[in-house]
Structures are given as structure tokens and as C-alpha cells.
């Protein structure tokens, strides 16, 4: 036991056991929906590969529709996406010896030079359900044969009740425009998730250009003080937990007398709050500005990398509003909010990796404090409601390696 862990006691370790399955979920949660590509990244007839939870997946668009198969040729195991070959609208051919698979069923339908081989028709690649909405292609990363496949909406933050005064768009709203970026981060996916809604880390962003430019009243941090600080979502629908920053049960800390620190900014954002839903989807309401919502994913690639997705959504019922939002996204939100502001978060996640990585002691030795109630809540919700856990995958290779 290390010296910093002197306050560890039996009851603490009992509480810790409640999220034991989470601490073991190194390779990610199985049987959930994850974003794979932005629609704009996959043109007609294009085929591209990703890795989710260590599983290689190839996505191909044909006649507008996107299909996903295991990106590992049944023959000799090469990743087909490293040299995509497509000869018909309904098949995908491996560039090496020409094994050709039906896009919809994954069945081997022919081999370029051996169409009569008896294995044709028998061999099959796993297929993955795909949905595409508002510019994002989602893939259901499931165990082969997992049924029934839940709706995509089950794995996204839920729609706000219609009578709630501070509305932001849901990711599947017909009039939502969703724009964003993605990048690979060298940390376990859980460190990404836990950074997103961490109420103690706000002060990290205090000098961010966008905070200064918009004179945003961003608190140094938030400390839960009562039962209404957190809302858990355990009934039907998405499973998750929300920080109710405006509930009165969160102390909004604007200064540290001892350190002489003062949060700046005059512009308070009404309705600003954060929530996290399985399999790790962050929703920040009214961020980076009132009326917008920022959503994030931390898609497990392998045990030590995640694909960090950050998007901003706005309801744009008219073409003029869409054009305006696209302009603002292009000139401001992309670089100042998703870029500079969230770069602070990337820095933090990668800095945590050593402590928590395989061989590190973070999951046992971390010393949580009062601000971390929501983090423990999230871990317990995963431990109860995850649809499955990925087992360690052989030969971990970072994406595109």
C-alpha cells in the first residue's frame, strides 16, 4: 500500500467492489453503438477501416447505404481496408487472394480464381449493424449473433422533456445540424469518459481563449452538497448520470481564497449541465454557447487508445440558420471550442494514463474526494448495465498502424 493511500479502509474497499466490473473493462463495452465515421468521410464506393474494442471493422458505402464487416479476411487474416477492392455494388473483395464477401450477409460468395471451391457459401465474416443520421455513421459493435440489437437511441443521451425551458437538440432530431472532429488519444477510453463530466476540473480551462473571448463565467469547480446534485437514469431507455449544476445542491465555486484564484467572466450560461450515458457519451447542454449542445464519445480502440469524438449540435429548421451555424462552426467553434478548449482535456487524459495503465496502480490507489461522487456513480452504472465487456484482444495495434 502506498503512502498516499492512508485513508483507505475496509468500507472503502467494499464500495470499490461495486464497480469492480468497470475497473476490469479495459478493452471497452461490447454490444453497444459507437460512432465510426462522419458521413463526409465515406463517399460512394469508398471502404475504410477502424478498430473498436480491438475489433477491426471495415465500412463500405454502396448505393448510398453503409455496410460494416469484420475487417479481417477469413482466408489469411489481412485487413481488407488497407487496400480496398470493390467490383460490384453488393460485394467486397480482399485485395490479396480475392476472397469476395456479400456486403449484407458477410458470406463468401466467390474467390477470384477459385469460384468452385467448396468453402464458397460456407465461410462467413461477422457483419455489424449500421445507422447513419445527421452526418454520423454509427456501428453496433456486438458479439456475433447478439440479439436483439437495441435502437441507436438507447445508446445516446435522451431527448430533453418538451416542457424543459432550456432546450438543446437531440442527436437524432431531424432539424439538428451536427458538426465536429475526431482524433486519436493515447489513453484508455475510461480516462477519456471520466474527464468529460468531472466537476472538479473546470478550472483547468480558465484561461482558454474561448472563455476569455466570450467572457464566460466558468466556475473553478463544482462540489456536490445534496441529493439533488445527481440524477441517475436507470429505467427504460439510455442508462447514465447527470450533474444538476443548477439544482442548488451543487456548490458553484468561483474563488479559492487560499490560492488567490478567482474565476473570471460576467456571462453566466443558463441551463449549462453535463451528463454521461452508456457506452460513454457525454452531453454538455448549452455549451459552448446557449442553445448549442456539445456531445462527445471516447470510443475504445485498444487498451491504451481511444478515438475522441467531439461534435456541436444546433437546431436549424431553416436553410439560413444552417448556413449561419456552419459559418460559426467553421470560423469559431471548431478551433476555439473543440480545438483549443478541449486540448486541455486531452493533455489531462494522456497525463493520467501512466497511473491507470496495465501495470499501473491507479484503479487501486487513487484517492477520490467529495467532488468525485458522479464519477463513482458512473462506474456503478456501467457495472450494472453494460451489455458486455470486451476480453483482451491479441496483437493490439493502434488504429491505422
Amino acid at each position: 500500500m502506498s503512502e498516499t493511500a492512508t485513508r483507505r479502509s475496509e468500507p472503502v474497499s467494499a464500495a470499490r467492489r461495486q464497480f469492480d466490473p468497470y475497473t476490469k473493462a479495459v478493452w471497452g463495452l461490447m454490444n453497444h453503438w459507437y460512432p465510426a465515421f462522419f458521413s463526409s468521410e465515406l463517399g460512394e464506393d469508398e471502404a475504410k477501416g477502424i478498430k473498436v474494442c480491438g475489433i477491426p471493422v471495415i465500412l463500405r458505402r454502396a448505393n448510398g447505404e453503409v455496410f460494416a464487416l469484420r475487417d479481417q479476411c477469413a482466408h489469411r487474416g489481412v485487413r481488407m481496408s488497407i487496400r480496398p477492392a470493390c467490383f460490384t455494388k453488393d460485394t467486397l473483395t480482399c485485395w490479396y487472394h480475392g476472397f469476395t464477401y456479400d456486403l449484407e450477409t458477410g458470406k463468401l460468395v466467390t474467390i477470384v480464381a477459385a469460384p468452385d471451391d467448396p468453402i464458397v457459401g460456407d465461410v462467413k465474416l461477422q457483419t455489424f449493424p449500421v445507422r447513419e443520421k445527421n452526418g454520423i455513421i454509427y456501428v453496433f459493435v456486438g458479439d456475433d449473433g447478439y440479439e436483439p440489437v437495441p435502437d441507436l437511441a438507447e445508446d445516446l443521451p435522451p431527448k430533453l422533456p418538451a416542457d424543459y425551458p432550456h432546450q438543446v437538440p437531440h442527436l437524432l432530431d431531424d432539424d439538428a445540424v451536427v458538426l465536429g472532429i475526431r482524433r486519436t488519444v493515447a489513453s484508455n477510453w475510461r480516462l477519456g469518459v471520466e474527464n468529460g463530466f468531472d466537476p472538479g476540473h473546470n478550472w483547468l480551462h480558465r484561461d482558454s481563449p474561448i472563455v476569455v473571448a466570450l467572457d464566460t463565467a466558468l466556475p473553478l469547480g463544482l462540489v456536490p452538497r445534496g441529493p439533488n446534485a445527481l440524477t441517475t437514469f436507470e429505467g427504460d431507455g439510455p442508462k447514465g448520470i447527470r450533474n444538476e449544476w443548477d439544482s442548488g445542491d451543487y456548490d458553484v465555486v468561483m474563488s479559492s481564497e487560499k490560492l488567490g484564484l478567482q474565476a473570471r467572466g460576467a456571462n453566466k450560461i443558463p441551463g449549462l449541465r453535463t451528463s454521461i450515458f452508456l457506452p460513454g457519451v457525454l452531453m454538455v447542454e448549452h455549451w459552448p454557447a446557449y442553445g448549442l449542445a456539445q456531445y462527445e464519445w471516447y470510443v475504445p480502440i485498444d487498451d491504451e487508445h481511444h478515438e475522441y469524438w467531439a461534435v456541436v449540435a444546433k437546431s436549424c429548421p431553416t436553410p439560413a440558420e444552417r448556413t449561419d451555424f456552419e459559418y460559426a462552426y467553421d470560423k469559431l467553434w471548431r478551433d476555439a471550442a473543440l480545438g483549443a478548449f478541449n486540448d486541455d482535456d486531452l493533455f489531462a487524459r494522456e497525463a493520467m494514463e501512466n497511473f491507470y495503465a496495465e501495470g499501473g496502480t491507479g484503479w487501486d490507489d487513487e484517492q477520490l474526494c467529495g467532488m468525485d461522487a458522479v464519477i463513482v456513480g458512473w462506474r456503478k452504472i456501467v457495472s450494472r448495465y453494460a451489455r458486455g465487456y470486451q476480453t483482451p484482444q491479441a496483437h493490439p495495434t493502434p488504429k491505422n498502424a
Binding site: M30, Y146, E147, S383, R384, Y385
Partner: protein, 346 residues
């Protein structure tokens, strides 16, 4: 269930590649693989649910049935040609099978291994949790949840059977829940056992294991009969794919005997589909979440779904009573699987 039905036992004959043959009885509800093991014939097997194909044999004569609720990896064409997976095969009468290996290899015989005691902890007035770590290499065939091992009482030639309370994922660690029997040989040893002691282990043994199926899984456990049930519940939780609904009815004699309740409640926390009923047979329940009752009475009066599968473990009397009760609640006898904790000398 191994109680002989009105039809009584059938005889199965196995012919090995080297023309060596063995015969043994198969009781109704027993698979050929289980019956072989009961007769100390250790056939090659691995998954024990019909998917890996290790226990492949060909039917030469007789008629067979597949254990309900299983998806076999055999193609229909192979089955027509006589192929059978013995882990998932029951017989309708006498039958003869042929195996594709020599009788000498008939073993994945349980391995004889050395183990070191890593923990001995009294978890209730009468139950000790024993932790061992295998000192020899982990054998190629590891235990299915529900199986047991035989432990040699140190310094004697006596062996005692105990079921593993965890899944093979925890190997090389093996955990057992042992009831202390006054005057018992192993019990006496455990009073003085300390970490670092060496023990001999015969591992893995037995045919008590999950049968697959997506229907409700009903577990009925009395006393240390909880051990294999904990392993099976963990297997359901840790394995891939959808989790079936689970009901666990567990009782100990008295509050002083009761153990494992916190572990079970943790499982219920992790598995929202797990219903837990914990009881004590005599005296006052130790807390509000525990009721007065036997493992059998905790089953209640509600009829069980036709696709439910039951696993019963405990003393022989309790196992018999549970089987009767489960049948009365509408379960077919072949869906009731049991392990009886019989004393070593009977």
C-alpha cells in the same frame, strides 16, 4: 437429475479406436459424458455444451436425443451420418458409440496437481473459505463453472471433494467454501491450516455445469452448496452475450451458519436481472433482507416457465426435496440438474 426414473438406467457401450470397449449405465436425464465420468471414464471434452466439438463420437446403434436448449456445432449432414456430441447427448435406450481415439487417451483424466494454501478464513460459524493457488502448470482442460476438485487431507491418504466457488478466469487461484464437520478429517486440518501449506489436488471433476439455454436459470442452494452456484452465476455474468434472468434461492441452517450473503448481494447489484432470496431455516433471520425459510420453500408457489433450467446443490435430502418441488412447479425432470454433497464415506 440422476434419480432413476421408472424406465431405469440404460447401458452405453463405447468402442475406442484401439478396439478397447467400456460399458456403463446412463440414468435418465444424464448425458453420456456425465455418465462416463460417473463411471470414471474420462472422455475428451471441453466446452460441455455442444459447441467446441471435442466430445465427438459416432453412434453405431441405439437412439439418442439432444439435451434441450443447446445449439450444436454439428452440421445436420454430420448428424445424419451418425455424429454425436456426447456432452449434449441423452439416450433413449441401450446404445453403442465409437470414439476416434485410443482408450489410452480416453483421459483428459483430471490432473494431479500441487497447490499452495493462500488463505483460510472463517466466513461464518461453520464455514471456512479456503483459497489455493496451483503450483503446477495450469492443465490444458480447466474447470467448467459447477465442477469440483478432490483435495488430499495433508498427511493422510484421504481425499475430500469440494466444488470450486469461482470461474476458471481466476486461475491459478481456486476458491472453496468448506463446511466444518465436527470430527471430520479435512475439517480438523483446516482448523490448523496456514498460508504456505502444500496440498494435492485432483482437478477438474464432475458433470454439474451450465446447460445453455436462454430461459430463466433457477439456482437452489443449501449451505456450502452455494459454492458451485456462485461459480455458475459468475460464469453467466462474465461470459459473452445476453444474460438470462436468474433466480437464486439460498438458505443456511441458522444465522450463525449464514455466509456468502454479501457476495450474492454484490452479484445482484451487478446483474439487474438476478432475483435473490436468502433465508435461514431455524431461528431469527440476522437482518431484514434475510427471511425464514429453506432453499426449497424460498422457491415460492409461482409456476416456472417451461424453458427454465434449474441447478440444485446441497445435502442429498435437500436436493431430493428441491427436485420434487421444482417438478410440482411445472419443470420437466430433465431440466433439473443437481450436485449432491454426499459425505465421503457413503
Amino acid at each position: 437429475m440422476t434419480g432413476a426414473g421408472p424406465e431405469g438406467a440404460r447401458t452405453v457401450k463405447l468402442r475406442f479406436e484401439d478396439d478397447h470397449a467400456v460399458e456403463f449405465p446412463v440414468e435418465p436425464g444424464q448425458t453420456v459424458l456425465e455418465a462416463a465420468e460417473a463411471a470414471e471414464v474420462f472422455l475428451a471434452s471441453q466446452c460441455r455444451v455442444g459447441s467446441c466439438g471435442t466430445c465427438l463420437a459416432s453412434l453405431l446403434s441405439g437412439s439418442t436425443r439432444t439435451v434441450a436448449g443447446r445449439t450444436l456445432s454439428l452440421l445436420p449432414s454430420e448428424q445424419e451420418a451418425g455424429a454425436r456430441l456426447l456432452c449434449s447427448t441423452e439416450v433413449d435406450g441401450d446404445a453403442t458409440f465409437e470414439l476416434g481415439y485410443d482408450s489410452g487417451l480416453a483421459s483428459q483424466r483430471p490432473a494431479l496437481l500441487r497447490a499452495v494454501v493462500t488463505g483460510v478464513q472463517q466466513v461464518s460459524g461453520t464455514v471456512v473459505e479456503l483459497r489455493l493457488e496451483l503450483a503446477d502448470e495450469i492443465p490444458p482442460v480447466v474447470h467448467a463453472a459447477g465442477q469440483y476438485a478432490r483435495l488430499r487431507v495433508p498427511g493422510t491418504d484421504q481425499w475430500r471433494s469440494y466444488s470450486m466457488a469461482g470461474t476458471a478466469r481466476a486461475l491459478p487461484e481456486l476458491v472453496f467454501c468448506v463446511k466444518l464437520i465436527p470430527g471430520g478429517a479435512m475439517s480438523a486440518y483446516l482448523e490448523r491450516a496456514v498460508p504456505g501449506d502444500e496440498l494435492e489436488v485432483e482437478y477438474p471433476l464432475g458433470g454439474f455445469s451450465l446447460r445453455g439455454g436462454t430461459g430463466q436459470h433457477v439456482f437452489v442452494a443449501g449451505g456450502t452448496g452455494l459454492a458451485p452456484v456462485l461459480a455458475m452465476v459468475d460464469e453467466l455474468r462474465e461470459r459473452r452475450g445476453p444474460k438470462p434472468p436468474v433466480l437464486v434461492c439460498f438458505a443456511c441452517q441458522s444465522g450463525e451458519d449464514l455466509f456468502g450473503a454479501a457476495e450474492l448481494r454484490m452479484r445482484a447489484f451487478w446483474m439487474p436481472g438476478l432475483t435473490l432470496r436468502i433465508g435461514v431455516t431455524e431461528g431469527d433471520p440476522p437482518d431484514e433482507e434475510t427471511t425464514r425459510g429453506t432453499p426449497v420453500s424460498l422457491l415460492g408457489e409461482e409456476p416456472l416457465a417451461p424453458d427454465a433450467e434449474a441447478y440444485v446443490c446441497g445435502p442429498p435430502g435437500m436436493v431430493a426435496a428441491a427436485a420434487d418441488r421444482l417438478t410440482a412447479l411445472g419443470m420437466a425432470a430433465h431440466r433439473v440438474h443437481a450436485e449432491k454433497f454426499v459425505p465421503t464415506d457413503t
